[in-house]
Symmetry: C2
Subunit: 167 residues, 2 copies
């Protein structure tokens, strides 16, 4: 496989994965080309490389910046804006995990806590509801805590060791 084929394969796979994760294709693909590019790219570069419109590029770059995984840079003496992605994969994983926890897991945990807190009238239906939503609450809370700890900036001895042992 030569470079261009590999690049296309990578970009389209990254786009497809994004789609499965609720991130739109253009956003994931823009991230992909920035991630593998040794130099920052302009909006024009991105539009051309992916064959997408200016509006699309602009909006998705904004989203990527909101996620904290793409930065805008200005080259002195140049009018155009350049974009580059977070290059450290650990940091990338951390940002994504953080964002997903904030947007998805935490709101869900909040609702699970609320609804599992109702008082039961003693019926089987209500007892079961409370029991099951409590169990989900515990699961989600554990998962979220672990996600945050494992990904946390300061990797402590335990987690570092753990990664080695588990892998």
């Amino acid at each position: 496989m030569e470079f261009n084929e590999a690049k296309e394969k990578f970009v389209s796979t990254w786009g497809a994965l994004g789609t499965l994760w609720g991130i739109n294709k253009a956003m994931a693909q823009i991230h992909a080309i920035l991630f593998i590019s040794p130099d920052p790219l302009t909006m024009e570069d991105i539009m051309e490389e992916l064959g997408i419109s200016r509006g699309n590029a602009s909006m998705n770059l904004r989203h990527l910046m909101e996620w904290g995984i793409v930065y805008k840079i200005n080259k002195t003496g140049e009018r155009k804006e350049y974009f580059k992605s977070e290059k450290d994969v650990t940091e990338l994983a951390r940002q994504i995990a953080k964002e997903r926890s904030r947007r998805e897991i935490q709101p869900t945990i909040k609702v699970l806590k609320e609804v599992s807190g109702i008082s039961s009238n003693g019926s089987l239906k209500e007892e079961e509801f409370i029991k099951k939503t409590k169990e989900l609450y515990d699961l989600a809370d554990t998962a979220d805590t672990m996600l945050n700890k494992v990904i946390a900036q300061e990797q402590n001895w335990i987690t570092k060791t753990l990664v080695k042992i588990l892998k």
Copy 2:
């Protein structure tokens, strides 16, 4: 908050979370009502409770069965089919993780391995491509391994302890 309000809130939150995770709303909501129901439900019950069509219920029940988190049961002497969900949250998490790993992470890992294996012509572009896709490969592989180990059926001493320590 009384039971019906709590139930609706739970069902709709579960549906919304599913959507964010690339699982359609009906599928997630069907799972939700089965999960909190003390008894198995018929397709009719599900259609009525969620206000969805027969075709929709049928297809999404099939998907849930493919995911291994809903089972069909037949009551002796009854024509109708009943459905019940996996009730053990640990098992639920395990099945979901397994399915996602199989459908999403593993195919991605495969592509990353392929594309990072090309031979470079020595240019900065190609060197960077190989370096970055290799890093992603390592990250995805580590994440997948950990996911599988932590969720694995036979929780060993290390993981059990770990969950306690991290939480």
